[in-house]
């Protein structure tokens, strides 16, 4: 192994340690976890996972989370695409100010807005629905999606648009058959970022849901405190939250490096 690879190797080891610890704990009985330190589970058990896959309060948490994250990703990318196109191709009144204003919404501390959000979504009758969380997460995901997509579109020469229009393409046809495939990497990266930030956000998701749309991370907090401190169960639930993310990142892994490169030169 080359000497220079020591840095990334050490870094990955550092990243994996807590994750290993979580996984190891999820295969231990709660008794073993509390009785003292063991590096490897002494008695392997799948009970923690069995509880999660058989108890509806647990597995519905995952279904709820995946549902609102998917809705949010679709909405964010769909509305961000035309907006990013406008920002990258045209000058219009207040474009720069608008772009920065969009960014500022990513800075709004979620802790500040939790209560007003609750009032707002209760008032329009969306409280405790997947749509409420999906819409609320648009606050920070849309600006990021516009930002990323604008970067990618800026890397596509404008001659492409002009040639297509000269060839008689209508705008919608040009956009879907020529432009979108060209920036597909960018769409992948934007969707990944939306997925990631919506999947991990809890404060708003928890505030806007009660029973029907409760996210998995909130289920964990509640179940853990009501059933004593079931560390093994908690660890198994935590370990399972990594899987959807890992699957998504596996699919976009090539876009992440190559994709950004395309847009931001």
């Amino acid at each position: 192994m080359k000497k220079r690879y020591i840095v990334p190797t050490l870094y990955i080891l550092f990243l994996m340690l807590p994750i290993y610890w979580l996984l190891a704990m999820s295969f231990k009985t709660t008794g073993e976890i509390l009785s003292g330190f063991t590096l490897v589970p002494q008695t392997w058990t799948l009970d923690n996972y069995r509880v999660i896959f058989t108890d509806p309060t647990w597995y519905w948490g995952y279904i709820n989370s995946i549902t609102y994250v998917a809705i949010n990703t679709i909405i964010s990318v769909c509305v961000a695409l035309p907006a990013a196109y406008a920002f990258s191709r045209y000058k219009f009144l207040g474009d720069k100010q608008l772009f920065f204003w969009l960014l500022t919404n990513r800075m709004a501390p979620a802790a500040v807005f939790a209560l007003p959000f609750f009032q707002l979504y209760s008032a329009i009758g969306l409280f405790d629905t997947h749509l409420a969380v999906a819409l609320a997460h648009c606050l920070f995901n849309i600006p990021l999606a516009v930002w990323i997509l604008e970067g990618f579109m800026g890397g596509v020469p404008k001659e492409l648009d002009e040639t297509a229009f000269v060839d008689g393409y209508s705008f919608p046809r040009f956009f879907t058959t020529i432009f979108l495939p060209t920036i597909s990497a960018g769409v992948g990266v934007a969707a990944f970022f939306c997925f990631m930030f919506s999947w991990v956000e809890l404060l708003l998701a928890k505030t806007l849901t009660a029973v029907a749309a409760k996210p998995i991370a909130a289920t964990m907090t509640k179940t853990a405190s009501s059933a004593g401190y079931e560390l093994g169960l908690l660890a198994a639930a935590g370990a399972l939250t990594i899987i959807p993310g890992a699957v998504v990142i596996y699919f976009v892994r090539n876009y992440i490096a190559k994709g950004f490169a395309l847009g931001r030169v």
Binding site: P18, L103, P143, R253, R264
Partner: protein
């Protein structure tokens, strides 16, 4: 850069984004502004309070302390994570089997829900049963207990955040690095440029755009951080890790002092905005200056 044409109809493209974001941003913001100038008694009794809450917050020592801790935290995070992220990105392989392995494993921490991250690190650092806590106390003999020592708590939240978010800087810098054509390096080699010169005049300028995103995102997110430190220590021991968001939630939901909490939110938001705007304009101006000579 391609020339942009003036087209006021572009507004229609931006409209859906505007409507969705404004709905989520303006209405809650108006609620917060409303609370910040009123005093509430019971359900629907509101009294005009003027700017008293703002004055109260701005002169309170509690706010100054939380703000100080917040700046210390964010400053440390940026100083550690940005150079570290760049260094890791520079030493990562450019092609081959290890690239996707590195990317996937490095992105994992970011994909774990924030309260799970906090809970995970909480158990990870427990002195008797956690891997890190046990190792520090029993193998190295260092007295490490974040529920008792403020210093240990600080080290823990910093290390946790470095663990959680350095990969964001790595991924973005790496993307910037991959975009540099080989010809640049070949030319540098012909000129006999040193390793440092290659970094300073080729790699850094090419990374600048993605680094702007990385630094801004890291600033915004670390300045607003709530769930992870709250799950980790609840702001303790004492108030030692009570960052701005945690303090805010304590006032708003713990004491139900909506007026002061709203005033504090607005001051908090204004500070975030100001610092982000400074970063944004400084880095954007820099990008243009550096990019001009190499523009083709």
């Amino acid at each position: 850069m391609t020339m942009k044409s003036v087209n006021q109809k572009a507004w229609f493209f931006v409209l859906p984004v505007l409507v969705l974001v404004a709905f989520n941003a303006l209405i809650p913001m108006m609620t917060v502004v409303n609370y910040s100038v009123q005093e509430t008694f019971g359900d629907n009794l509101f009294f005009w309070q003027g700017l008293d809450w703002f004055q109260q917050i701005l002169t309170s020592e509690r706010f100054h302390n939380a703000l100080g801790r917040q700046f210390l935290f964010t400053g440390l995070i940026l100083v550690i994570e940005v150079p570290l992220g760049i260094a890791i990105a520079l030493s990562m392989p450019k092609k081959g089997f290890w690239v996707p392995v590195c990317l996937v494993t490095m992105a994992l921490p970011m994909l774990i829900p924030w309260n799970v991250v906090g809970a995970m690190w909480n158990i990870f650092t427990l002195p008797d049963i956690g891997l890190l806590g046990y190792f520090m106390n029993h193998t190295l003999g260092i007295d490490y207990n974040m529920t008792q020592s403020p210093f240990a708590a600080w080290v823990t939240i910093i290390v946790m955040d470095v663990w959680h978010w350095t990969s964001l800087v790595v991924l973005l810098s790496y993307a910037g690095l991959v975009s540099i054509p080989d010809a640049f390096y070949q030319a540098a080699e012909v000129d006999g440029a040193s390793r440092w010169a290659v970094f300073r005049y080729i790699q850094l300028p090419k990374m600048k755009q993605v680094l702007t995103i990385a630094i801004l995102l890291r600033f915004m997110d670390s300045f607003n951080i709530y769930t992870e430190p709250f799950t980790l220590t609840g702001g303790g021991p004492g108030n030692s890790t009570t960052l701005l968001s945690i303090d805010l939630v304590k006032i708003a939901l713990g004491q139900f002092d909506l007026g002061p909490a709203a005033a504090m939110s607005l001051i908090y938001f204004a500070i975030t905005l100001l610092v982000s705007w400074l970063f944004y304009t400084l880095m954007n101006r820099d990008v243009q200056q550096v990019d001009k000579p190499t523009d083709h």
